[in-house]
Every structure is written in structure tokens, then in C-alpha cells.
């Protein structure tokens, strides 16, 4: 039985803060949990906080990109917040620039980014 990362809700935004060294299976579970909860809780945005994450390898990097794509299909936006400078440098050198993933420096900026883009879509 592998652990599950808790998914919190603030209004119509889901918040995931990764605090443990992730096992591959935990990463897969998180993808499914988020997809289900975006729909069941009618979320418009997802924030993934990786402030505590020391390394992002290609598996976790792909997970971030996949979650962003899945949530887009489910009419929600994903922002990854809190990436450490060393992690950013390493990801680019690894060959993973995470082109399709929106980022913000911290949780506050990430939430502001989501609120802006959600209210923009609502006006349409």
C-alpha cells in the first residue's frame, strides 16, 4: 500500500503540497486523485506546491506535465509553485523544460495567477 498525497480545497481551487520523497506509485495515484477531484469538486484550478521537493527527475517532471494536460481537458488550470533554483537548473539540463506547465514563484503568486485566469474564462 503506497501513501497518498492529500488534496486540499480552497474555493474552486485544489491544492497539493508535496512533502515527501515520492515513490513512483504515489505519483500515479496523485494523477488519478486529482483528475477525479477536479470533476467531483468542480475545481477550476490546481496548485501543486513543490517548495519542499529537493529533486524532480524525468518521472516526476512528466507527472507535472501530465497533470497540467489532464486538468486542461477537465476545464481546470494547473500552476506549479515553489520550484527551487537548483531543481530548475537540473530540469533544463536533464532536457525537460516543462513547456506546457505554468509556474509561479510561491503559493500566493500561484493563487493570484489562477484567480485572474479563471475570472477571464468566466467573462467569455
Amino acid at each position: 500500500m503506497s501513501e497518498r498525497v492529500p488534496v486540499l480545497r480552497i474555493g474552486d481551487i485544489l491544492l497539493v503540497s508535496i512533502q515527501v520523497d515520492l515513490e513512483d506509485q504515489t505519483v500515479m495515484n496523485l494523477q488519478e486523485d486529482l483528475a477525479e477531484q477536479i470533476v467531483s469538486r468542480s475545481a477550476r484550478g490546481v496548485v501543486i506546491d513543490i517548495t519542499a521537493v529537493e529533486i524532480v527527475d524525468s518521472f516526476v517532471g512528466r507527472m507535472l506535465a501530465t497533470i497540467a494536460s489532464i486538468s486542461r481537458l477537465l476545464d481546470a488550470e494547473t500552476v506549479v509553485v515553489g520550484m527551487r533554483p537548483a531543481v530548475a537548473i537540473t530540469l533544463v539540463e536533464l532536457g525537460l523544460s516543462l513547456g506546457g506547465v505554468r509556474t509561479a514563484l510561491d503559493l500566493e503568486k500561484g493563487l493570484a495567477l489562477l484567480r485572474r485566469s479563471v475570472s477571464r474564462t468566466d467573462r467569455r
Partner: protein, 142 residues
């Protein structure tokens, strides 16, 4: 047979089996401890741990499990950290192809081997179809 890394006298090497999913996490933790001990900069620590994580997963997924040996190394007075990933899996038939960005024999992104090589100072790949694969990585403190 490839030459073994120049293991440092202090510390000794540690051997860990890579057989289950959580062994990848353990390999990462061992790499982190050693990278800190070898006084790498924070960015270099992150690069080394990330490379070790990629290779540990390769050992499990493509090699069918294997072994990690890791420890501090010393050459010409310089301190560094080395990790050797060993499996007795199918081996790699076309090394040039396997080292190409984006090429994968499985379901990955194809960045494991080529990405890991970019993240370390020394990268040695020893493989033969039917015999298995050994990958050695070293990162030196600056």
C-alpha cells in the same frame, strides 16, 4: 570490464539492492547523503541525486532489478561521489540509440540515460546484450 571508480579510503562503499519501487527512493536518499558528505555545491548535489534517480529507475524498469554501489571517491586530491548501477537484465543492443534524447524502448521519456550523462562529470556505460548493464557516474566537488 570497466575500471572501478577510485573509491576513497574514508567512508567506504554502501551496497543497496534495487528490486522494488521504494528502492528507487532509497537509492535517491543514499545519493543525497553521499553528495552532501562529498561537499558538492547545492546545484551539483541536486544534479547528482537526479541522475542517480534516473539510473535507479532504469535498473528496475529495464534491467529487471539489480544493485547500487555508492561511496565517496578521491582522485588527485579531489573529493567526489560515485554510484555504480548494476543489473543482469537484457543489456542494451544499440548504445548510441539508447543514449539519444527522446529514444525509449519502454514507456518513458527517453531522457534517463542521456539526461543523466549531462548531469554528472563522468559517465561510463558498460553493457552487452544478454549480460546486463553497468552504469557508473561520478560528480567531483569544485
Amino acid at each position: 570490464m570497466t575500471t572501478p571508480p577510485p573509491w576513497a579510503a574514508e567512508g567506504g562503499q554502501q551496497t543497496h539492492a534495487i528490486a522494488k519501487n521504494d528502492d528507487v527512493v532509497r537509492a535517491r536518499q543514499l545519493a543525497r547523503t553521499l553528495a552532501q558528505e562529498s561537499k558538492l555545491s547545492l546545484v551539483d548535489q541536486t544534479k547528482f541525486i537526479t541522475a542517480a534517480s534516473e539510473l535507479a529507475r532504469n535498473t528496475m524498469v529495464y534491467g529487471g532489478g539489480g544493485e547500487l554501489r555508492a561511496g565517496l571517491v578521491r582522485r588527485n586530491g579531489r573529493l567526489g561521489v560515485a554510484a555504480v548501477f548494476d543489473d543482469t537484465g537484457p543489456g542494451i543492443a544499440d548504445v548510441d540509440l539508447a543514449m539519444t534524447d527522446g529514444w525509449t524502448s519502454g514507456l518513458g521519456l527517453g531522457l534517463g540515460l542521456s539526461g543523466a550523462r549531462r548531469l554528472v562529470d563522468e559517465f561510463l556505460l558498460d553493457t552487452e546484450p544478454g549480460r546486463g548493464t553497468t552504469v557508473t557516474i561520478i560528480k567531483w566537488a569544485r
